[in-house]
């Protein structure tokens, strides 16, 4: 687990808490940059769009959905990493997850928030978006629970709530550690955040059980959330999207994209917060193996889709397939296949899998490929449905591109705020991986 010898218990506290309690000018500059990019690239174009209308984006009569929806799906996909890592691997008692799961969960939460923001940007009349919630009102009007979009609303609300509770509850003992190591206002804040945690056996026992139950609830939730998001597409009759494989395809793609995101985030944590001691080769190795598995499953599902479309032979589907493979957007399609199916195979060699720099590049390429995949779904299938005279074309406008860039800045801002408010590495779980404090060890 530890590449440079085991730290002591006190070292763990010191190392992790120092990233929170000591802030240098580099952090403030970085935070300022991300906030400025977020405001300039995301919020100002969005404000412009709110005044002018959705026409500021590049969508038209045929392609009524554009990059906002593909970004939405991308960010929800990215959010599945944390759940997999913290919940699934908690149930299977994997030890290598213990130092990285807190940041992975944070990734989940902030990806979800960014995705929710995209829904606000996408909808035509945002000021009425609360109508999608079942809030009692004097008109007696309720949302349409038969609608796939309503499944979406309920699923994402549940996922946001469950993820926030999951990450908060898991951090309570660490908030106590922050409380003990700080003074003044911070100490009072963290006394409240930690609920007065002392670490008694009864508290640990209850927390352990509650945490396991949260994990057991969150795993089927994560699987269902991305399936439901896929059904926004799959329950339509649009050729190219009306496939039953979509639910497993999206879930697999989400975990794939999310795990690649974790590699990127871990690289940044090591570089900027100095967590080299806690995040080492064993994590890289395991994440790499996970990525290879997911890449193979993803490739298989893509081959399935191609084959079943070809075998079915419906004229609409064949036309959609031909456009996807050889039409205007073909370069994007083949770029996606290269980055998501072929490049990750490099990880089969230890030379690639155990090198942080190479893995960073591979993980970023995978995520670019996955974002392209979402864009392809929206750009190639939606404008070309059934009636050939009604076929159209989609190109994003500057507003959409700017908002896409801004969304990454928003995610970075949230994450930067996170590392100063919550210990980015779970102190007590790392201690569980160290040698126990016994006389004989």
């Amino acid at each position: 687990m530890f590449d440079h010898g085991q730290p002591s218990y006190a070292d763990v506290n010191k190392d992790v808490l120092s990233t929170m309690l000591e802030t240098g000018p580099r952090y403030w500059m970085l935070l300022g940059t991300t906030i400025s990019i977020a405001v300039i690239c995301f919020f100002m174009p969005w404000l412009y769009q709110l005044f002018v209308g959705i026409g500021a984006a590049g969508m038209n009569r045929n392609a009524v959905w554009g990059t906002y929806i593909s970004n939405f799906i991308f960010w929800i996909g990215l959010s599945h990493s944390g759940t997999l890592l913290s919940a699934v691997l908690h149930i299977t008692n994997s030890h290598w997850r213990k130092s990285i799961y807190r940041s992975a969960e944070a990734m989940t939460l902030f990806s979800l928030m960014t995705a929710a923001l995209f829904i606000m940007v996408h909808v035509g009349r945002v000021w009425f978006v609360h109508w999608t919630f079942p809030i009692p009102n004097p008109m007696g009007l309720w949302p349409n629970f038969r609608s796939p979009l309503m499944f979406d609303v309920m699923a994402i609300t549940t996922y946001l709530t469950a993820s926030s509770i999951f990450i908060y509850m898991g951090s309570v003992p660490d908030f106590a550690a922050v409380r003990d190591a700080s003074t003044g206002l911070r100490r009072r804040l963290y006394t409240i955040f930690s609920f007065g945690w002392r670490g008694t056996a009864r508290e640990w026992h209850t927390l352990g059980w509650a945490y396991t139950f949260f994990a057991v609830f969150v795993i089927p939730l994560a699987v269902s959330v991305h399936s439901i998001v896929s059904w926004d597409f799959a329950l339509s009759i649009v050729p190219g999207l009306h496939h039953t494989i979509f639910a497993p395809y999206f879930v697999c793609g989400a975990i794939y994209s999310g795990t690649a995101g974790i590699v990127t985030v871990m690289y940044c944590l090591r570089k900027f917060l100095g967590f080299e001691k806690y995040i080492g080769q064993v994590h890289l190795d395991n994440l790499g193996k996970l990525l290879i598995t997911l890449s193979l499953i993803w490739s298989y599902i893509n081959i399935l889709e191609l084959f079943s479309t070809w075998f079915g032979g419906t004229s609409f589907e064949i036309e959609a397939l031909k456009f996807r493979l050889t039409g205007f957007y073909a370069p994007l399609y083949w770029e996606m296949i290269t980055f998501c199916a072929f490049v990750p195979l490099l990880m089969l060699w230890k030379k690639f899998r155990l090198s942080w720099n190479k893995m960073l590049v591979i993980s970023i390429l995978i995520n670019i490929g996955m974002l392209t995949e979402r864009c392809i779904m929206v750009a190639t299938s939606l404008p070309r449905k059934f009636l050939p005279d009604a076929f159209g074309f989609y190109l994003p406008s500057w507003v959409e591109i700017s908002i896409t860039v801004g969304s990454f800045a928003i995610f970075a801002t949230l994450f930067l705020i996170f590392i100063k408010w919550v210990p980015a590495v779970s102190i007590y779980e790392v201690k569980e991986t160290l040698k126990p404090l016994r006389r004989d060890s």
């Binding site: 079942p134 009007l141 002392r198 056996a201 009864r202 927390l207 139950f213 949260f214 609830f217 016994r438």
Partner: protein, 167 residues
């Protein structure tokens, strides 16, 4: 007045706890920086009552989710797409999500009830208990019990023993 004893090693800590328990000191707290199964066994904590809250939450969530779907669909009958008004496939998905949502919320509620957090009063605590020491807290009142407890603790190999006032 409470006795607060610090131990540097796990086995001393567990031995002291076992001895205290068998000598009739029921009101002890065992503080550690990480969860210790043996400490929980000494106190006799096996299955947590949190699981009842989770189950209740899941069942109530399922019932509430389905009832919400059906009830809201019947306020104004608005047929859509040739589907039934009570469309089971769609409502099953919503029910599933509500099961999980209320299950999680009830588990959170159960955690607070069972663990007694947030703690409204200051209780005996040492900061080293959250770093690398194991602390036994014995809530005792009179002098004779105190002496007996201290003897047991010292016998187990405590690093340090202090007394703290309990509110």
């Amino acid at each position: 007045m409470a006795i607060v004893a610090t131990f540097a090693y796990e086995e001393d800590f567990i031995a002291a706890a076992k001895d205290l328990k068998s000598s009739g000191f029921d009101d002890i707290s065992l503080l550690s920086p990480l969860p210790l199964e043996e400490a929980q066994e000494v106190l006799g904590l096996e299955k947590s009552p949190v699981r009842h809250f989770s189950l209740a939450g899941a069942i109530i969530g399922a019932a509430f989710g389905f009832a919400m779907c059906v009830a809201t669909a019947l306020v104004f009958i608005l047929p859509t797409g040739g589907r039934a008004i009570i469309a089971l496939p769609s409502y099953l998905v919503i029910t599933y999500e509500m099961t999980i949502l209320l299950g999680v919320l009830f588990t959170l509620f159960g955690f607070h009830i069972v663990s007694g957090l947030p703690a409204w009063h200051d209780k005996p605590y040492l900061e080293s208990a959250n770093i690398d020491r194991f602390v036994v807290v014995v809530d005792s009142t009179d002098g004779e019990r105190t002496a007996r407890a201290e003897a047991i603790i010292r016998g187990a190999g405590a690093e340090e023993i202090t007394h703290m006032e309990v509110e």
